[in-house]
Subunit: 437 residues, 2 copies
Amino acid sequence: MFRLSNRLGKQSQLRFYSNTYGHLSARKQSLIAQSGLYPAGFKASGVAAGIKKNKNSDVALVVSELPCSAAAVFTTNKFQAAPVLVSKETLSQNNDKVFAVVTNSGCANAVTGAQGIADAKKMRSIVDELTNQSLSALTMSTGVIGQNLPMDKIEAGIRDAYANLSSEHKTGWAKAAEAYMTTDTFPKLRSGEFSLQNTKFRMAGIAKGAGMIHPNMATLLGFMVTDAYVKPDLLQKALKYAVDRSFNSISIDGDMSTNDTISVLANGASNVRIESEGSDFEAFRDHLTQFAAELAQLVVRDGEGATKFVTLHIKGAETFESAKKAASHIATSMLVKTALFGQDANWGRICASLGHSGVDVDPSRVSVKFVPTDGSEHLNLMVKGEPEKVDEERASEILKMEDLQIEVDLGLGNSETKFWTCDISHEYVSINADYRS
Amino acid sequence: MFRLSNRLGKQSQLRFYSNTYGHLSARKQSLIAQSGLYPAGFKASGVAAGIKKNKNSDVALVVSELPCSAAAVFTTNKFQAAPVLVSKETLSQNNDKVFAVVTNSGCANAVTGAQGIADAKKMRSIVDELTNQSLSALTMSTGVIGQNLPMDKIEAGIRDAYANLSSEHKTGWAKAAEAYMTTDTFPKLRSGEFSLQNTKFRMAGIAKGAGMIHPNMATLLGFMVTDAYVKPDLLQKALKYAVDRSFNSISIDGDMSTNDTISVLANGASNVRIESEGSDFEAFRDHLTQFAAELAQLVVRDGEGATKFVTLHIKGAETFESAKKAASHIATSMLVKTALFGQDANWGRICASLGHSGVDVDPSRVSVKFVPTDGSEHLNLMVKGEPEKVDEERASEILKMEDLQIEVDLGLGNSETKFWTCDISHEYVSINADYRS
């Protein structure tokens, strides 16, 4: 199925990438995958098709040699983008013989009317032609909303990407991850090897941020692939579970995209086969969840303009849902986020946001503390509704750390959740004021 | 009731105010009241009691010579501040013989536990002593959350304010409005004369912003006074109606305060008396609504760091509530607000936010346009779900204007609403990162 002749023929066209990462902090650089253990039977590529003005790579393709079972979750935004609608159609007609995920950045193909649907279908049919399959590809687009795709560039890009598919880290996966980036400052690529049924299997995944991130029910742009085989209905179930505990538990700016999509393809090349519920299914699901959480956290760490990675730990809630609702509300408070940016222990804003979250709260039972991530002692800010005399020097010490945990105990029950978010800085405003320029 | 001897005895202590407004734009300066027509029987004052670090005035007092009927709406935040709880108690026990509103800025007395309640009651009892009445004052506080009031300064400030009460603009009302300010860049004071029952009556009002502004059911800090008499239950009804169409239709940053309070006192000094429903009541209610809308819009115009005053006009909704829900969601989108700051016609973000608002939307019926406030022709951005080829030059021309109207037609029904908001700028981030410093 892979047209190797084409691929070799176009090797000379490999782009020079100007987006190296030497300017990033050491912390961020350490998050960029330098190698990987990729699932058998998958190849990946990323090329620059000229959709982005800055000439960075903007078309990614991942193709499996074997047919895959496929599952996906999508944005619940009423303005679902054309690639979302088309991918839904693909899955409803074919969720056990999917071969590819094709993605472009630089243009979201969202709010593009009838032309948008035709363009997304065209992306799929180009892959169908290349793989000699039918309904073979899930489509994803990210970038500016309200503009049509430049289809000449897209078509040439997909053909170029197909010709350059590789199973290697540097020439394949790393390039695909780069083609996902919009305002992201680094590519988000993870892979790993696990064991089930006395057999090793692998997973790989790519995600992107970095703004319009506040998934709900569905999530942002990303995919995972594995060489385990998982029946489509079980794959969907595992994905839903994983996403609820990963991509649906993050917020950067409270805005939900029109394009949010997370998909997973499972091609079975590893001989791990999961065809029924039970302990194997649960083990796979938990691996997928851990994997998704790691990718989701990468998205938050690269939040537009973010200087802090904040874990909100909500405890003592009556239900998981109320804990998550409270967390989501606090995570989107502009005043909480700007105080974190200012390294200001203005914890009253956490209470104000909690009180406005719609969750039933009894102020006299609420406790709030900072939990330092270096293992040093926590700092109580409020205990059961009574404010503490806060040691401002110690608070400031904790707030200087890049990673921070805030613990809010509602004092009402035994449910809890963790939610990941970041601060809002001047840079966030700059990035989004000038996004289309 | 006014202890004129005290008042004259303290004239020498009048503060020098360093907060003049020469540095503001001509537009903002034009919004500062230079004179007024104030209701009979009311006096006002504002003094610097040393609560604010910058020594600006921070205690305001408004006192009526006659007993007033009183009404108020309060924040629905679960963490209601002590002054809110105490004012509620005052109104529940005495809504027809209220004499005063006492306010401090610089400290919100919110999330302050049992001590906070005692302090708010103490503010009220100081006014009781000065006016020789019982449960005579509504209390309001604004500023940092989670810190206790400096009661020595508060007490001296209230006594000082009482001694300096004046019915004049410059020595009374303008000073009270200044004492309400926190991050506000100008005082928000309005007054006017109306006619009912062949009798003239007046209203005056003060409001404050400028952050943590996203009222819901209740609203931010402000009050209105009138020399009409309106029965307490009707006054409450008129206030609820007015606030729904004014203070509850604005958002600066999506954060709801713990202290939101709008109250109205009616002392009847004008001989206008409204004791039953009917056309007089409705006329009064509509005056109050207009008046409240003007004050609310002043709050948005002075939104923290705001450079734009944006009217969202949602049309074609199935209900008033769904129109308002859509408006509120769009008004709080960080991406819409940063695009407005950047003067970028990134209208897709408006659709993305609408689609995430929870309102039932059919994308193929939605139209979006910019309506210039200079009377020139509107610019279609999307018509019934299909994107227009947007004239970017014209869009940029419109986005350069300080005042902007965005019209979103849902194409589903006949209900509509207007909602006022502003952009989010670097300055907003600076103000809120460093708020307590």
